[in-house]
């Protein structure tokens, strides 16, 4: 399929981009890497009348280690974030998830913010943003606002940006020293869209008990979801096989899953339970990615 016609804008500054969004808003879409957007345009499911490319806005292409987190600009390519030393050291969950995002050639061009704004129910990065309470920096010609991840993701392919806003950057909080994280997903094929996935970060206390667990799960027709009840249940406990299995069972009961021809609802629910259990065991056994303080 060939895409439908559109007008093309390629402003060279953020202000230029925001001006275009102010003018066109509803009818416009931002083009960054295009790895999620263009397939829908080629299949003519999505026919924006104005496409605003940010690829010529050098000021949006940055990965900055700031005081309270790693900030990725709207043009930060997934591959660059995946190989950024600070990200590897201090945001291991983000890097682990990026390994699963599409093919290498998708990650070369796809951006972190693009994947977050697209909010596909089975995309890995929204689950990570929710798990880590990332902050989305929304910019418009009238100013900026910070949207916490739990308020950013509304539903399948839907975020809470206003029509004239763009996702200028995302801030991933650093993982606490000594915390361990892992990202697991499983699909009907060994690489490609998952049926369910788990983003987990656990901070252990000196006594080896779980001081804080941050867990988000993706698995169905809706956007990834934070499993807060499970986090509360895990706090203060030793993560052994029994605790891991119970946490998996509890999380599965929280997630709303729906069946389709890839997998029925019962299977998705059971898979969420198994993946949470295995993620916890992997984190507890120290085999997971370890956050190192610089």
């Amino acid at each position: 399929m060939k895409p439908a016609p559109f007008e093309f804008r390629a402003p060279v500054s953020l202000d230029g981009v925001l001006e275009e969004m102010r003018e066109h808003g509803e009818a416009a879409r931002i083009l960054a890497g295009g790895q999620s957007l263009v397939p829908l345009m080629n299949l003519r499911m999505l026919q924006p009348s104005v496409l605003v490319s940010i690829n010529h806005c050098k000021e949006l292409s940055y990965i900055r280690a700031e005081e309270d987190g790693l900030v990725c600009g709207a043009l930060a390519r997934q591959w660059d974030v995946e190989h950024d030393q600070v990200a590897i050291q201090r945001c291991p969950l983000l890097v682990q998830a990026l390994h699963h995002v599409g093919a290498r050639s998708n990650r070369n061009r796809g951006t972190v913010c693009g994947s977050l704004a697209h909010a596909d129910p089975l995309a890995e990065l929204p689950a990570v943003a929710l798990a880590l309470d990332a902050d989305m920096i929304a910019a418009s010609s009238t100013g900026r606002r910070v949207v916490p991840a739990r308020e950013f993701f509304v539903g399948a392919l839907e975020n809470s940006l206003r029509p004239d806003e763009i996702l200028e950057a995302v801030r991933f909080p650093y993982a606490p020293t000594g915390s361990r994280s892992c990202f697991i997903e499983l699909g009907n094929r060994n690489h490609g869209f998952a049926i369910a996935g788990v983003a987990l970060e656990v901070t252990f206390g000196e006594d080896g008990r779980c001081r804080r667990a941050r867990l988000a799960v993706m698995g169905g027709e809706n956007i990834a979801k934070r499993a807060s009840d499970t986090e509360v249940a895990l706090a203060g406990s030793i993560i052994d096989e029994a605790a891991a299995r119970e946490a998996g069972r509890l999380t599965a009961s929280l997630v709303d899953v729906a069946g389709d021809f890839h997998a029925d609802a019962a299977y998705r629910r059971e898979l969420v339970a198994v993946l949470v259990e295995r993620a916890l065991i992997q984190v507890a056994s120290g085999a997971a990615g370890r956050a190192r303080s610089i």
């Binding site: 399929m1 060939k2 895409p3 439908a4 016609p5 299949l43 003519r44 499983l186 009907n188 094929r189 060994n190 690489h191 490609g192 869209f193 049926i195 069946g259 389709d260 021809f261 890839h262 997998a263 029925d264 019962a266 299977y267 059971e270 898979l271 198994v274």
Partner: protein, 796 residues
């Protein structure tokens, strides 16, 4: 008879001469052909309904779009195109004809309703979306299980209960044998609908030669000659003025061995508008409209003795024909194929089948690699395992007791089909050895019940129908499929050899393998042979490329032509060497005097004489030129056979299947190029792994396809494929020239049953009965849980 003393080329791993230009990206596939500046492009409007009456089609908005030249509906096309009608002369078949665009009624989602002709493919698609069609949705017959019931909506008014084809057979004393047996083992098997999905979608380019008023038609096809004849009949345009040229083809697998409506529309509009027309299909259209396959239900009953031998077998087969009978193989090929091939390598003396092809409001089915054999062997090999489980005999032993023994060959099976040679027992013995079968069974017995991983082993012993000659097609009623293939050999004046064959490769390496055959049988250096095929203006007429026939039919034609041309070359060489013709031997592009080999003339010298280009005249009575064309009709069929043995591990908690070991012992008779044979087996196996584990074209109950994209129609990628251990046994055919048997479809035929049996074996401990495809984790876990609930129920 091979030229003695000639360094054999047949049997060698000769790297392919096709590779260099493909590796530089210089292969010209259909859409790579530089079309003329004034070429127009097509885009089709497709039905969103599985079954609906067309009330009105408004094309004015589309026609008005700048860049659009014309918009046609079925009524417009009827002026210059006849419907496609698939003729199959077999008892029980009801022909259905199909207009190139839906007329009055649409019968499957994606069926073409109108076509836009525009100056640019983007604009053509814009316009296709402006075509407004008023439909009156009608009830659709979609599920195969219900499509032939009394109340089911009819796909074609004149085909009662949608039964497009029905046939039955019973061997003479079947009933007596069936009733006298000690025990009956029965099972129902359901295989999932899949598609060939070649990486290059279909497409064609029609060019007009105004002067000669002839049509030059490029199309991504496996059947150039059959397509040319069909085009001539449907367009009522003289066949001599049609030239079909096959470009590089990006995979076929049977999908491109059909003749499609879009090919007719492209050619018809070029003739009508007197302008070049190009149509390139996109992936969504390809999944919606290229033939599907394997949507089958098998009900098997085997009457067995205490030892597990099948005394009598009954097959009830229902296949989903889709909305129309595809051209040229129609809807009967899967129905007859599944019912006839299922006896495979087993000594089953009493057999009965009832088989049917049922029309539904879905895309037409057709001949995809293996044609029903992957499904029918999944059924019979699943039954063999169940016989073993019922009697407590190991499935391998059950097979050993049922296999045709080598001393029975040549063997005529219960359907009167002759297996000339084979290695059924030897392939099984070696496969069991290479997969370390008995040790696996030992380890499996020791495995604990609460293991996180369940392991299983699956076997498939099978025969593959290949290289079918005219007799084989006639017996199936496919009289429009000739059966012979042909080869034209020309030793050119410079001594080089031009070989033209009636084939059209899609990656099988024909230019290399046929050169190897000619080199050995003509005594010419393989590098002096230049092969070409796929162009009906040069290649002689033939049946073309499908059903594993290339090596047998075209290979045989090359041998026949070489044997007749050798005589003439030897005579002229004898004249030049002034020796008796018996003393002449052709080898390495030279004719030598056997008695003193240093005395020789090369092919160039012989050719110069034959083309009267030297001072010496051609000897008395000899004709000019060195050219011959031979047609070769293979036997009814050749019968490669193989055994696949597969070990899988299934995660008990997620039901994810991983293949740990894959062993193949294959007998394709005499191998021309073992490297290419292994490549065919690898590709077939991985298509089989996809068909078993993840591939399915999904229609909902309203006949809507839910996965016309590659994110939802899953096929294996590199991470889903195990190491594959292939070893060969070469038992040459005694019926087919050259002893070749063919290999194109063996990989997929063996893989589907072997992987399915391995998974079923792994889960047998949980009580799950695995008998339907694909084996998605969701289905496997549900089956494991079903039995566990029952067990929990009992325990409470």
């Amino acid at each position: 008879m091979i030229a003695q003393g000639h360094p054999r080329s047949i049997g060698k791993h000769v790297p392919r001469r096709e590779d260099p230009y493909l590796l530089r990206g210089e292969g010209r596939f259909l859409d790579d052909i530089a079309e003329p500046k004034d070429t127009l492009f097509l885009s089709f409007a497709m039905s969103p309904h599985a079954h609906a009456r067309i009330l009105a089609i408004r094309t004015d908005a589309a026609s008005a779009l700048p860049g659009v030249v014309a918009v046609y509906t079925a009524e417009d096309m009827a002026r210059f195109v006849k419907p496609i009608r698939t003729v199959i002369e077999i008892q029980g078949y009801r022909a259905s004809s199909r207009m190139v665009l839906a007329q009055d009624e649409v019968r499957f989602v994606g069926e073409h309703v109108a076509v836009v002709v525009a100056e640019d493919p983007y604009i053509a698609q814009d316009a296709a979306e402006l075509i407004e069609v008023d439909y009156e949705p009608l009830p659709a017959a979609v599920r195969l299980e219900e499509a032939d019931s009394e109340s089911a909506p009819l796909v074609h008014e004149d085909i009662p209960r949608n039964v497009m084809f029905e046939a039955a057979f019973a061997s003479p004393d079947f009933q007596a044998a069936f009733e006298s047996a000690e025990m009956i083992v029965s099972e129902t098997f359901r295989t999932g609908r899949v598609a060939g999905v070649p990486l290059e979608p279909r497409g064609c380019l029609a060019l007009l030669d105004h002067v000669a008023d002839s049509l030059l038609f490029y199309t991504s096809t496996q059947i150039p000659h059959l397509a040319r004849t069909a085009l001539s009949e449907i367009l009522d345009f003289p066949e001599p003025r049609i030239r079909v040229v096959t470009p590089e083809v990006g995979g076929g697998f049977g999908t491109k061995a059909q003749f499609y409506t879009e090919e007719v529309v492209t050619a018809a509009l070029a003739l009508n508008l007197r302008r070049p027309i190009k149509w390139v299909q996109d992936r969504r259209e390809e999944l919606l409209t290229s033939i599907h396959a394997r949507d089958h239900i098998y009900r098997l009953e085997a009457a067995i003795d205490g030892e597990g031998r099948i005394k009598a077998l009954r097959t009830d087969l229902t296949t989903n024909a889709g909305a129309y009978s595809s051209y040229p193989f129609g809807c009967t090929l899967e129905a007859t194929g599944g019912a006839r091939m299922i006896v495979g390598p087993y000594d089953i003396r009493n057999y009965a089948f009832h088989t049917r092809a049922i029309a539904t409001h879905t895309c037409p089915s057709g001949a995809y690699r293996g044609v029903a054999q992957p499904s029918c062997f999944m059924a019979i090999e699943g039954l063999m395992d169940r016989i073993g489980r019922k009697l407590g005999i190991d499935p391998a032993t059950v097979r050993q007791r049922n296999l045709i023994r080598s001393e029975q060959l040549p063997y005529t099976n219960v359907l009167g089909v002759r297996y000339d040679t084979g290695s059924y027992e030897e392939c099984l013995r070696r496969a069991l050895e290479r997969v370390d079968y008995w040790n696996f069974r030992k380890r499996q017995a020791e495995a604990r019940d609460d293991d996180e991983v369940l392991r299983g082993i699956g076997i498939c012993c099978f025969t593959e129908v290949a290289g079918a000659g005219s007799g084989g097609w006639r017996v199936r009623g496919l009289t429009k499929v000739p059966g012979f293939d042909s080869a034209s050999i020309k030793v050119e004046p410079t001594g080089k050899v031009t070989l033209l064959v009636s084939q059209a490769a899609a990656g099988q390496g024909h230019l290399t393998t046929f050169a190897q055959v000619l080199a050995d049988y003509l005594g010419v250096k393989v590098e002096d042979v230049f092969v070409s095929e796929g162009d009906t203006a040069t290649a002689p007429y033939g049946t073309n490329t499908f059903a594993s026939r290339g090596a047998v039919a075209a290979g045989g034609a090359v041998i026949k032509a070489a044997q007749s041309l050798r005589q003439k070359i030897a005579r002229i060489a004898a004249f030049l060497l002034d020796v008796d013709v018996e003393r002449v031997e052709l080898t390495e592009s030279k004719a030598i005097d056997k008695e003193n080999p240093e005395k020789s003339v090369d092919f160039r010298q012989v050719a110069q004489i034959a083309y009267s280009m030297t001072s010496v005249a051609l000897p008395q009575g000899e004709s000019f030129g060195l050219e011959v064309v031979e047609m070769y009709d293979p036997p009814l069929a050749t019968w490669p056979n193989a055994v696949h043995a597969v070990v899988v591990a299934v995660d008990r908690r997620t039901a994810k299947v991983s293949i740990e070991k894959y062993v193949v012992v294959h007998d394709s008779g005499r191998l021309i190029n073992p490297m290419i044979v292994d490549g065919q087996i690898h590709g077939g196996i991985v298509q089989g792994i996809g068909e078993a584990l993840m591939e399915q074209i999904v229609y909902d109950e309203d006949g809507q396809m839910l996965n016309a994209n590659l994110l939802d129609y899953l096929m294996p990628m590199a991470l889903d494929v195990p190491q594959i251990d292939i070893s060969h046994i070469e038992t040459p055919s005694i019926d087919a020239l050259g002893g070749f048997k063919g290999v194109g479809e063996g990989g997929v035929i063996g893989a589907v049953p072997a992987v399915t049996n391995a998974v079923a074996d792994a889960l047998a401990r949980t009580g799950a009965n695995i008998n339907r495809l694909p084996l998605r984790p969701s289905y496997l876990l549900r089956e494991m849980r079903r039995r566990q609930l029952a067990v929990d129920g009992d325990r409470k």
